[in-house]
């Protein structure tokens, strides 16, 4: 065997044996470095005769390329191996908790109000607002609730100290019906969300200030059947599934006929539970067909005009939607509660 063949075999064995990149480089230099064995042979070519030079030169170049190739292969392999090893040292526990960015939170009532506004706006209702301090005319008289009448006892009222005249905190959003109809001609399609006040002792289901959304649709031939379709659509969209309702007779001075809307209790699917006092039904809203006196009081001629009005407690909707059991949580500013929305 010639020297070169011997060198080639040996280099191959040594290169393959190298266990890290440093060793590999050293072996490589032993053969192809400036003083390497193959390099020396190549350098000695000049001293040879032509015939020999061609033969050995060719052979030596082949060996050189072969060693280079082995070296490349091996070095790729070693680099990948060492990279893997160093990654191993960076092991992390994927079950450890992630870092949450600190986000803010909107109040659950805001979320409900927005949802309600969105649903009604898609059905062509404009959203309007009105003042929270009202006079007797808008809060009572114009709504066909006469003075010194027991019907007024349905609304426990906060009165304000005044020098003259009587002022109060609105007990419902209904005054905005009058305010709006005074300035706008039918057809009318509005909802009125807002804060209202009742002179009531607070407990898990009562508050002295809370939120209501009023709805009013007035035009030609607007009927109870229309109201029913709108309210079913509203509830379906709000709760994300069709909801069963029932209508019961009721009394409100500003509507005639008047009715109350109950909806299947969502907690027990109508079987009866503590949330619905075992009835399977939840009181949802008061509603009715606008009383002709209300239209008159707003300066409209009731002839040929009719429509429906309704009022929904937004707090109650919120409590139902999120299964909250105490209305006072909504006004308690407890961040442990508010952080959940």
């Amino acid at each position: 065997m010639s020297d070169l063949k011997l060198i080639k075999n040996q280099a191959e064995i040594e290169l393959k044996k190298a266990s890290n990149f440093g060793e590999l480089k050293q072996v490589f230099n032993t053969y192809l470095g400036t003083k390497g064995k193959v390099t020396q042979i190549l350098r000695s070519l000049v001293e040879m005769d032509k015939k020999e030079r061609i033969k050995i030169g060719q052979e030596a170049n082949l060996v050189k390329n072969y060693i280079k190739e082995i070296f490349e292969q091996k070095s790729k392999h070693l680099k990948a191996k060492s990279a893997k090893e160093s990654e191993k040292k960076e092991w992390i526990d994927v079950t450890a908790p992630g870092k949450k960015p600190s986000l803010g939170h909107l109040h659950p009532l805001t979320l409900t109000i927005r949802k309600v506004e969105e649903i009604f706006q898609t059905m062509g209702f404009s959203v309007v607002e009105g003042p929270e301090i009202e006079n007797e005319w808008y809060n009572f008289d114009a709504l066909n609730i006469p003075k010194d009448h027991p019907a007024r006892d349905l609304w426990d009222t906060f009165w304000l100290k005044t020098k003259e005249g009587k002022m109060l905190l609105r007990t419902h959003t209904s005054p905005v019906q009058i305010r709006y109809m005074e300035k706008n001609n039918p057809p009318i399609r509005i909802i009125v969300p807002g804060r209202i006040y009742r002179h009531e002792a607070t407990d898990a289901s009562h508050e002295c200030n809370f939120y209501q959304v009023e709805g009013l649709m007035v035009g030609k031939d607007i009927s109870v059947a229309n109201f029913k379709a709108i309210v079913l659509e509203f509830l379906k969209r709000l709760f994300g599934k069709p909801v069963k309702i029932r209508m019961r007779p009721s009394f409100f001075p500003f509507t005639e006929p008047s009715f109350e809307i109950n909806m299947t209790c969502l907690s027990c699917q109508g079987k009866g539970c503590s949330v619905c006092s075992k009835t399977g039904w939840l009181e949802m809203m008061g509603a009715g067909m606008v009383h002709p006196n209300v239209l008159k009081n707003a300066g409209l001629n009731p002839k040929g005009l009719q429509g429906f009005a309704f009022g929904v407690g937004l707090d109650r909707l919120t409590l139902m939607k999120y299964r909250i059991n105490d209305i006072r949580l909504l006004y308690g500013a407890d961040l442990r509660f508010l952080n959940q929305f």
């Binding site: 805001t110 607002e129 100290k161 009927s223 379709a229 029932r246 007779p249 001075p253 909504l330 508010l338």
Partner: protein
């Protein structure tokens, strides 16, 4: 009102089982609060609607309602008795009505030969089941008749009523009480009366508070032999006013307040006479004293059935409508395919217009029979509500900035008022607050926000909250205004200021600047703010809000650590907010950042330095960021160090290092023109 199931059954041929009855009532008439078994009876608590009190606050009235909804036959009330032909009420009693506007009818009847004893057991039980206390047979019958017919009636001992000297008649006078007049009621309570209260009186003084409560003096006792029964129809508002005045509500006043059928007085007296004869063995007089100057006429209403169809969105045939109304004791005077002329029974005070009849028809027929139909209407798009649009936008920005939204009460108390230095004149006070903590309407959102920290600081180290809501002030009249306030705990003035900048920029308001808070001398509320850490927020030249740390005196009172609060007038924002937003092209050429640190006197304002950098640097200075303010021992006395990143960029070329150096030199030269300032190299 609580109804006895067995009692109701007396007036009806058949009656559905209690639970079934409750369902019927719920769907067609009134809400049933409770059905409770009591001995052999069931007690049904029915929430009679206020407009139906006139005809349904009574067992007979409720039975009449049930007869219509359950389609069962109603029996007549037994009002028969054998009158004593020789006994004439008019020869014993004279009724004189002085206040004619306060009642429409006053009926009275004398019954002689009564023997006062306890009531029979059945009567005692009936009264007890409805929550009344049995007294004696005559009084119990009077109460029984009220629960039965809805008409309050009252019995006096005839002999206790004073006689007129001339004709010897005992005089009953209906008049207003005189100021200072007093009465002791049947249950021994004393009441001071005045002109707002109507009384039944004799020649000497009040016998009863009209429509509210009987007096002690003429009461029925063991020795009573002859009684006079009265049943009146008092004006609802007179009774309501009187009852409020003396703060006394009774079963009688409740019924009068809601109004009653004037025909009831006679019916009730006859019914009571019948029962007294049967139970007490008395002899009713043959006549009735009846003051009834203006007879109430029955109402006639024409119902247009095409209107009914349009209002309900459902057709009801003339025949069906008529049948339902008849079940409710209405009379059909005339009818056609498309109309009904209806006579309203006198006990239905609540029926006045065609819509009332439509309600009667549909509630008996069942509201569930109306099928939902979407309205047909013009496609008018809803109007955009800008207030709500900007409110939503504002809330979203604060949420994105990590704030929690809170809803606080619209009230505050004396404590907040004094702690935050509100004068009584500027606050709106409630006439009837629930508690002293809710005596005023809130004049600012800040007190509650600060209190929210008090509630939460045990559980949270860092608190960022905001509220958008109405505040109320008395400024030449009651004013309400939308405000936005936020709060950050800790030494966070600059964080809060950054939030204000970000918030206002997002609302399209860019020309914002801050000025020292300058309280006017008369403004005591300046005490709310930390004297050195408060600013006015300005947009152009208008003040739109305040920003600052709450004064240490308030914080120590509330035992909480530092908080920074911002109060923004949302109504002013609404006027200047804008959705317009234009993008600024991104330069293709690289930016160069140089740092600049400068030693300045402590009182130097950052804005002064910023202005110099910007004006000296000219258009090449794209942005200047303050990244550090340092005050420390190693610095000379009275000095602070400000450090800025200055970002240079040109729109049209890559800036050379030399070019930037020249601008920096210019900036430094101008900054150092003031010998108090020294740029650190």
């Amino acid at each position: 009102m609580v109804f006895s199931y067995n009692w109701l059954k007396e007036y009806l041929k058949t009656l559905p089982q209690p639970e079934k009855l409750a369902d019927l009532l719920n769907m067609h008439s009134f809400e049933v609060e409770e059905v409770k078994k009591e001995g052999k009876d069931h007690l049904i608590d029915i929430d009679v609607l206020p407009n139906r009190a006139a005809d349904c606050f009574s067992h007979y009235g409720m039975a009449r309602e049930i007869s219509a909804i359950a389609k069962v036959v109603l029996k007549d009330l037994d009002v028969k008795f054998k009158a004593d032909k020789k006994l004439k009420s008019r020869e014993l009693v004279k009724v004189e009505v002085l206040d004619k506007s306060s009642l429409s009818r006053y009926s009275a009847k004398v019954i002689s030969g009564v023997k006062i004893k306890p009531s029979p057991q059945w009567l005692v039980e009936r009264l007890k089941s409805c929550g009344l206390r049995p007294i004696n047979n005559v009084v119990d019958i009077a109460n029984y008749v009220m629960l039965e017919t809805g008409q309050p009636i009252h019995a006096f001992d005839l002999e206790k009523i004073h006689q007129e000297k001339g004709d010897g008649l005992r005089k009953i006078i209906v008049r207003r009480a005189k100021k200072g007049e007093k009465i002791t009621s049947l249950d021994g309570e004393k009441y001071n009366l005045d002109q707002d209260v109507l009384v039944i009186s004799d020649l000497k003084g009040p016998l009863a508070i009209a429509g509210i409560k009987g007096g002690k003096y003429p009461e029925i006792d063991q020795k009573t032999k002859t009684i006079v029964l009265e049943a009146a129809n008092f004006d609802p508002q007179v009774v309501r006013k009187g009852s409020k005045k003396i703060n006394l509500r009774t079963d009688a006043s409740l019924r009068f307040e809601h109004g009653l059928d004037p025909n009831l007085t006679e019916l009730a007296i006859n019914r009571a006479s019948s029962l007294i004869q049967e139970i007490v063995k008395g002899n009713p007089s043959s006549d009735l004293i009846d003051y009834y100057p203006k007879k109430t006429l029955p109402k006639l209403i024409k119902l247009d059935l095409s209107y009914l169809k349009s209002l309900l969105g459902m057709e009801v045939k003339s025949k069906d409508a008529a049948a339902i109304l008849k079940r409710l004791k209405f009379q059909i005077i005339k009818s056609g395919v498309d109309y009904l002329l209806v006579k309203v029974p006198s006990f239905r005070l609540d029926i006045n217009i065609p819509e009332d009849l439509i309600e009667e028809i549909i509630r008996i027929k069942g509201l569930e029979n109306i099928d939902p139909v979407f309205p047909v209407s013009s496609l008018i798009p809803p109007k955009k509500n800008l207030e709500i649009f900007w409110e939503d936008m504002a809330k979203n920005i604060f949420k994105e900035a990590g704030f929690n939204e809170v809803y606080n009460y619209s009230f505050f108390g004396e404590e907040e008022a004094s702690l935050f230095h509100y004068s009584k004149d500027e606050l709106i006070e409630l006439e009837n607050p629930i508690s002293s903590e809710q005596k005023y309407l809130r004049a600012s959102l800040i007190p509650s926000l600060v209190r929210d920290v008090e509630k939460n600081h045990k559980n949270f180290k860092e608190i960022k909250i905001f509220e958008l809501g109405k505040v109320f002030r008395n400024e030449k009249g009651f004013k309400e205004k939308r405000m936005l306030s936020f709060l950050i705990t800790g030494d966070s003035f600059y964080e809060a200021k950054g939030i204000v900048d970000l918030f206002l920029n997002k609302l399209g308001i860019s020309n914002i600047w801050y000025d020292d808070y300058k309280p006017t001398p008369e403004n005591s509320r300046s005490i709310v703010w930390h004297s050195q850490k408060a600013a006015e927020i300005k947009a152009d030249n208008e003040e739109i809000g305040f920003l600052g740390e709450i004064s240490p005196s308030i914080l120590s009172e509330l035992k909480i650590d530092k908080v920074v609060v911002c109060d923004i007038d949302f109504e002013k924002l609404l006027n200047i907010a804008s959705e317009e937003h234009e993008y600024r092209p991104i330069s293709r050429f690289p930016a160069v950042v140089r740092d600049l640190a400068i030693l300045t006197p402590q009182e130097t304002r950052v804005v002064e330095i910023l202005n110099i950098i910007n004006s000296a640097g000219g258009s090449l200075v794209r942005d200047v960021d303050l990244f550090d303010i340092y005050q420390g021992e190693e610095l000379p006395d009275g000095k602070k160090n400000l450090a800025f990143h200055i970002i240079f960029q040109a729109e049209d070329r890559t800036l050379s290092s030399n070019e930037v150096d020249r601008v920096m030199e210019k900036i430094i030269k101008i900054l150092e023109e003031d010998p108090e300032r020294q740029v650190r190299k």
